[in-house]
Symmetry: C2
Subunit: 437 residues, 2 copies
């Protein structure tokens, strides 16, 4: 038989159990935080009509779109983000949804990106947005969600940096650069990565004088809002900072940064980025902003909103680099070797009893030698093994091995009514106090 | 501006918060059960090389494949199930994975099916498999996982029906029907839906005598294994039934059913289906079986396994029909109206304190009239509202409204150290006993 080489497409990857366990934990954590603020889950199709997606994310994302004709001759494409599908979704269902509408959406997106930049062509996005209100309370909440999330993941040293597009627009106006605002903002967005000089040259190349470019960049690095009192913008940024403080975010974790611009065209108000103090080079792990009118391409209803996108893969990479991810390839805490073949029914009954008591247990499926089974358990990283051979079955006592510590303690297997003994449960849970309560 | 009609592709759908909350609950439940047996999560790309997917699921799934050429000229396709990607995955990574390997995979798949049959072209599959062992213990565990899962979801009346392909093969041999075994098995698989007579006619049409067809169908409906002692097959089915009983599955929830055949070619041992007693017509909600060699197309390593696939959408539909799904469109239990504008900092601080105590709370983003906000809360289905106006802020006491019962109770807002008062927490959690402990 001719075999097919088992391989994944360039830019695509399998997730093995270790990384997938870490991703599931991160997603669970994010969902828990989103839900604690009342954000609601939704899902949309991976495939959309091409016309829904093209022209929404700019020329680059059009180029990166996976598009084709389906068997029915429809022009279709895989979504490249979760924001454009959200716009389509709220336009289509706004009357059913009710406003304000707070949603989260955690799902894969596809972009035919240049993989040489270390990017994947399939990755999971994790977005949350509040649609249908212009209230600064939602801006505050967006910041709070980011902060809660990072804290829940174990980060203590991070900064959410906020700015306002209206302030930036006014700044460009004052410096005579309104005519090419989009391009200048995208260059400002590169300041940190490319540096002051390179960005200055590029803005000058758009046709602006060296003097006005210098003045612009000086104001940005100065980082104060003095002299730019624009329609209450300073008050709004101050309201976000105050709101974060009121909700208990420590001083400095949320701060004004004049150089935050974000590259996307659709932001019209507050914009933010989040850096980790310990890993500034990996860039922003959570970014977003306020937009006036997300769904105007699909509906005449005006739907302003504010939201952010969590960089799931980037955060995971950061947590790995900082040693915050426990290396494990097991999901059940207890390993139960099966080596007394005639006792299968007892192993099954005990495993079922432990699971009913809330203790996950993996029973090895083959009656092999104990050493081989413990080697398997070690490789998978189980915390505990419960070793029971014929002698232990007969005596009604098992050996609880702490696989990391290398210690073994005995415990009775059953209580009077034939359920797992409380002392056994306590030992397997790792409680210090093993006296039955 | 010319608008684009917001619409989804035929056969695709959006999931609004209500159904998505129910799906998330089901997926969480399934993950919890899988993990309690030590199954590990993995993920694979939605897109694969076309050659990986074609010819693996038969002619029909080839026809239903979404395939196209990517920008790099590669022939690619969207996966139509999670089993073929699993085969490719274990062939590619077997040395890293270690055997036995128990995995679960919950992810969308795509099939260009005829939507007139009420089917969707994108749906989530929820699979679990044990690879690398032929032990009957894994067959038993597969049955236990299905049973635990249904029980965890609240089902009490269901039957997991098991059969063995080897027994069926022997039965066909005895009746002289081995030559077209695959076709006859697919017809047997239709017995329940199409009925005895229709299936008899179709088997006869394959060229078999009415007498031998009658004898075959009589044996199948007789439902005993007498006379077909084949290489210990009966013992193996008995071992699965015994194992399930030993693990505490009530008698009758797992039973031998001679007519279970499953349509797929690759099964070689035990096969099973799961019916709900209260909704037999919706068909099997969880099906699977044992296969000798899943990955032979990609590797010379022999990788036997056993597994099953949970019909997520079918189960959700069943739970809805049986009134087992709580209709809710809120994820936080508590709604906090914001109507005293000058007190924003207090609302934010209290909401943060409640979340820190583990109580999810949605703060309305705009200082609108209380009535409008409570209408919003009612529509979203919040359990509780915490109403605090200027008078309540000044007095340090809030009103806890039980929105379903229509009752209101007062509670102090803060304790001495400025955190939410224990009595408030107890009222919001809905405990009967509200005395601080």
């Amino acid at each position: 038989m001719s075999r097919i080489e088992p391989r994944t497409l360039k830019g695509f990857r399998d997730l093995l159990p270790g990384p997938m366990i870490a991703r599931e934990a991160l997603v669970d954590c994010a969902r828990g935080v989103f839900r604690s603020y009342g954000f609601l889950p939704i899902d949309t199709p991976a495939l959309e009509y091409e016309e829904i997606l093209t022209g929404k994310g700019g020329e680059e994302s059009d180029k990166q779109l996976y598009r084709f004709e389906d068997a029915g001759g429809r022009k279709v494409a895989l979504r490249f983000d979760l924001t454009v599908p959200l716009a389509r979704f709220v336009a289509q269902h706004s009357s059913e949804l009710g406003m304000p509408f707070k949603r989260y959406h955690i799902a894969p997106v596809w972009r035919g990106e240049n993989t040489q930049r270390g990017r994947y062509r399939e990755f999971v996005q994790c977005d949350f947005d509040t649609i249908g209100t212009e209230s600064v309370v939602s801006d505050v909440e967006t910041v709070l969600v980011i902060h809660d999330l990072l804290r829940a993941l174990g980060f203590e040293r991070h900064a959410i940096r906020i700015n306002d597009r209206r302030w930036l627009a006014r700044l460009l106006e004052v410096n005579g650069m309104s005519s090419r605002q989009g391009e200048v903002l995208r260059l400002i967005d590169k300041l940190e990565k490319a540096g002051h000089q390179a960005v200055a040259r590029e803005i000058e190349a758009l046709g602006y004088s060296a003097g006005s470019v210098q003045q612009l960049l000086t104001t940005l690095s100065d980082g104060t809002m003095q002299g730019f009192w624009v329609n209450g913008v300073s008050e709004q940024i101050a309201a976000v900072l105050d709101g974060a403080l009121a909700a208990g975010v420590p001083e400095g974790r949320v701060r004004f940064d004049a150089s935050i611009a974000r590259g996307l065209d659709y932001y019209t108000g507050i914009v933010f980025e989040t850096r980790l103090d310990d890993l500034p080079d990996i860039g922003s792990v959570c970014s977003g902003g306020r937009y006036d009118d997300l769904a105007s391409l699909y509906t005449k209803e005006r739907l302003p909103g504010v939201g952010a996108s969590l960089g799931l893969d980037r955060l995971l990479a950061a947590m790995e680099e900082l040693g915050m991810v426990e290396k494990r390839a097991s999901t059940a805490p207890v390993f139960l070797p099966y080596f007394e073949e005639s006792r299968l029914a007892d192993y099954l009954r005990l495993a079922a009893g432990l699971r009913a008591a809330g203790i996950g247990v993996e029973l090895y499926p083959e009656a092999r030698k104990l050493g081989a089974q413990l080697k398997y358990a070690d490789r998978r990283g189980f915390a505990k093994a419960l070793v029971i051979g014929e002698q232990e079955w007969a005596a009604g006592r098992g050996q609880v091995k702490d696989l990391a510590a290398g210690t073994t303690r005995e415990a009775p297997l059953w209580n009077a009514s034939g359920a797992p003994h409380p002392e056994l449960l306590a030992r397997l849970r790792g409680s210090a106090d093993v006296s039955p309560s």
